[in-house]
Amino acid sequence: MASPPAHGYSERLPRIGVVTFPGSLDDRDALRAVQLAGAEAVPLWHADSDLGRVDAVVLPGGFSYGDYLRAGAIARFSPVIAALVDAARDGLPVLGICNGFQVLCEAGLLPGALTRNAGLRFVCRDQLLRVGTTGTYWTREYARGSHVLIPVKHGDGRYVADPATISQLEAEDRIVMRYAGGNPNGSLADIAGVCSADGRIVGLMPHPEHAVETLTGPSEDGLAMFVSAVSTPVAA
């Protein structure tokens, strides 16, 4: 009988799916980030209700269905999201980035909503963030309170929720990242990302998949988000 691997991880590589919607932009970068983190990257298609036996799913950035109606509002009713909502309620970890965060809020998997930037401008810049909770599936490789540099690029990124929800998120330590060095969109409490009560579902506006190599990004600070998922044991 083989002894467990020295690093304590499962021997099987985790399979992490990345969904492509019509209008997705960052699915390729997300697939690449998943691979760089050491997982098996599994492309998923919006019209499929089969999640391909993945261990986790990334909803990437972009403008799914042209952002018509509201950002994420039409994607939320796609076959893949219908399957994902069921699976997520049963514990499947999900990371929603930018448009993916908007979809998770529209689908009711995360509280709150993303609205038009307070300054009305599309903001595209390298953004300093302060790490909040590290007790999630996607942030355990970060150090609480540390600062990371990760790009933002969005026009609808102002996080809003009613005061009771914001208080609850603070009290339950469910704010994953906050904007530091200037709030780019007017988000309440400088919130850049939040998580579900069990920490398995995370949504954030900044793009960790664009900060995995210094060749193309401002830092490698985003890689830890995908490594966090890989360092989580999976069922063999």
Binding site: L69, R70, A73, F77, C105, E106, P111, G112, A113, T115, R116, N117, A118, G119, L120, R158, V160, A161, D162, G186
Partner: protein, 113 residues
């Protein structure tokens, strides 16, 4: 095609579709069809920077005295036969609006071909 210019419950208070609002087959058997109008507005406490931008442009047009502008959305749904109001509210609440940030209203009007 003649479209009534406003909500017909105001203009034609004795129209059968108003006095018996759920008996739409009366209309579809005649010459009118029903248009369902859903209007969606951001909740009052939600910042509306687009409305704010419109407001701040008004002085440049020489307009004064407007205190506030809020921008919303209007959806027009043409329905065959009698609208299923339960279904309409389901669409308006869970799809056309996001209840976290928006409120909606529904009203019906007749459209004569």
């Amino acid at each position: 095609m003649t479209v009534l210019p406003a909500c017909y419950c105001l203009l034609l208070p004795k129209h059968p579709a108003v006095t018996h609002p759920m008996r739409i087959p009366l209309l579809s058997a005649g010459e009118a069809r029903v248009r369902v109008v859903v209007e969606v507005m951001l909740k009052p406490e939600i910042l509306d920077p687009q409305g704010g931008a419109v407001l701040s442009a008004l002085p440049r047009l020489g307009v004064s005295g407007v205190r506030s502008v809020r921008q919303g959305k209007r959806f027009e749904l043409d329905v065959d036969g009698e609208p299923d109001m339960e279904q309409i509210h389901q669409i308006a609440h869970g799809f056309l609006s996001n209840p976290v940030i928006e409120d909606y209203t529904v009203h019906l009007r007749a459209e004569y071909p």
